[in-house]
């Protein structure tokens, strides 16, 4: 592991240990925050009992659908908009300010349109993720070196082969970054939507535990989400760094 990696590990471990000491010493009341070791124990028991399996399964399913929709829609829309410079100029201000829009205000409308259930939650997740993918698709296509496209022409490649064998691999690092961001945004969108417009899922389960003073379940699920997205992000970050290292010129 690199020096920076060790430093990160020391900082995170130190923070967890400090929290553990503060909770055990009573500086932080256990009704406010249980010690991390207690949270871990609660999480283990929750997972082992299977009591949260349905909620976890539902949330991960919703996130997966939102991620797939975000990546596909963002990529296709990015390719289409890149091919239409005038449309792009018109859309640029909207794309730049997209994340300033608080999508959750639309949740009554989404329920009216899609009904109760997974659909409006997946839509909210997709709305969060799609533009990150779209913007990175545009960035990737913008940054394809012209000389590679000329090389494709020298080799007599048609537009489809050029797209598959030159454009796609050349833009891949940006597409990967877009997908990575889409995954993170979809998690945020889906779990937050479950808080307010669902009767199942991890978000709903955390809100339910909060309203019923069930700290053990609430913190266990929060820890589960934090560990899950941290591990997922670390894997994607490592993968992305490998791709980028190979591309650095």
């Amino acid at each position: 592991m690199s020096w920076a990696g060790w430093l990160r590990l020391i900082v995170v471990t130190g923070a967890v240990l400090l929290l553990e000491v503060l909770c055990r010493a009573g500086v932080i009341a256990k009704t406010v925050l249980p010690a991390p070791s207690v949270m871990a124990g609660d999480l283990y028991r929750l997972l082992a009992s299977g009591a949260a399996s349905a909620d976890i399964g539902e949330t991960l399913g919703n996130v997966a659908m939102a991620v797939i929709a975000s990546i596909l829609l963002g990529f296709v829309a990015g390719v289409a908009i890149h091919a239409m410079p005038r449309v792009r100029r018109a859309l640029d201000p909207f794309l730049a300010t997209y994340y300033a829009v608080p999508f959750f205000v639309f949740y009554p409308v989404l329920i009216v349109i899609f009904g109760l259930g997974a659909a409006p939650i997946v839509v909210i997740g997709t709305l969060f993720g799609v533009v990150a993918m779209l913007i990175n698709t545009l960035n990737g296509l913008d940054r394809i070196p012209r000389v590679l496209l000329k090389t494709a022409r020298v080799h007599g490649m048609d537009p489809v082969r050029t797209a598959l064998m030159v454009k796609l691999p050349s833009a891949a690092p940006y597409l990967f970054t877009g997908a990575k961001l889409a995954i993170a945004y979809c998690f945020i969108g889906v779990i937050a939507a479950e808080f307010i417009m669902s009767s199942s899922g991890i978000g709903y389960s955390i809100a339910y535990a909060f309203n019923n003073f069930d700290n053990a379940r609430m913190y266990a699920l929060m820890l589960f989400i934090i560990v899950l997205v941290t591990v997922l992000n670390a894997v994607l970050f490592t993968w992305e760094r490998r791709i980028m290292q190979r591309r650095r010129r």
Partner: protein, 286 residues
């Protein structure tokens, strides 16, 4: 001035040192105007009349922005001339790079996601060449450009000169009959340029291909070429063609020959006024 009219022929040619040249590629009255002609369009090139002889090493020198790269684009089929006609082996070239034409660019054109070996094999795979034949040709080319130990390396692990060799090898394996090079050594240091120049001469002799090199380096043109076309400032026209008279078996040591200095001096005499014009300094003194 009308192109394709050699100024003072060198004694080698008059003595019959060259075989009777056959036209391999020709440009007749070629102009390239970007934008709408007569409505603010930029007249980048021409009119140019130029004949590349079968198997010769022809270089083009000219002031910055005179249309050298446009000339290469038009000749290769990457760009369509606004006026005039381009032919390669007697067939018209229009908007599509013909089979048998290879192009090496100044910029790094290696595919960063492919290894050196896969970069070189790229065109052969696209053309559907038999895998055993690909293996044979690529292994030969990797050795030819001195990258045997780097066959599995990625471009990011190579120097600028090595990456350019990958691009040259990628062109070589396609067995082109006409090789067009657009300032391929422009980004390299002086020593590497000399070494790459020698490698290019080796490639030229080995393949028997016709070579057209675009360069801004007068010494490079003088060292490598059988014939040099001098271009005017924009819109670029061929204002003179110079025969060097070098033997086919040559390398960078030819720079110590007496004639080398005379050729570069002559090139500069022709180019100085055009370069001043291109820089907006013409008429400012001698």
């Amino acid at each position: 001035m009308k192109a394709n009219v050699a100024a003072k022929r060198d004694p080698h040619e008059e003595a019959g040192a060259y075989p009777a040249p056959a036209a391999h590629a020709e440009l007749k009255g070629v102009s390239r105007i970007y934008g709408v002609p007569g409505h603010g369009g930029v007249h980048a090139l021409g009119p140019v009349d130029l004949t590349l002889r079968q198997g010769e090493f022809f270089s083009v020198v000219g002031p910055s922005g005179c249309g050298k790269s446009t000339l290469l684009d038009v000749l290769s089929g990457l760009s369509v001339p606004t006026e005039g006609a381009v032919t390669f082996e007697g067939k018209p070239v229009a908007g599509k790079v013909p089979d048998g034409v290879g192009v090496v660019f100044q910029e790094d054109a290696t595919f960063p996601w492919l290894t050196v070996w896969d970069n070189i094999a790229f065109g052969l795979r696209r053309a559907g060449v038999d895998p055993a034949e690909i293996e044979r040709r690529v292994n030969y080319a990797v050795g030819f450009v001195g990258l045997k130990d780097f066959a599995k390396a990625y471009p990011v692990q190579l120097s600028g000169g090595m990456r350019q060799r990958v691009c040259i090898a990628r062109t070589l394996v396609m067995r082109p009959r006409l090789i067009l090079l657009d300032e391929p050594f422009g980004a390299l240091d002086a020593q590497t340029r000399l070494i790459m120049g020698d490698e290019l001469l080796k490639l030229w002799r080995e393949t028997g291909a016709t070579v057209m090199l675009i360069t801004h380096a007068l010494d490079e043109a003088a060292m490598l070429s059988d014939r040099i076309g001098v271009m005017s400032s924009r819109p670029g026209r061929i204002i003179e063609e110079i025969e060097t008279g070098w033997p086919r078996e040559r390398d960078s040591r030819i720079a110590s020959e007496d004639g080398f200095g005379q050729i570069t001096a002559r090139l500069w005499r022709l180019l100085r006024e055009e370069s001043l014009k291109a820089a907006g300094l013409a008429g400012g003194g001698s």
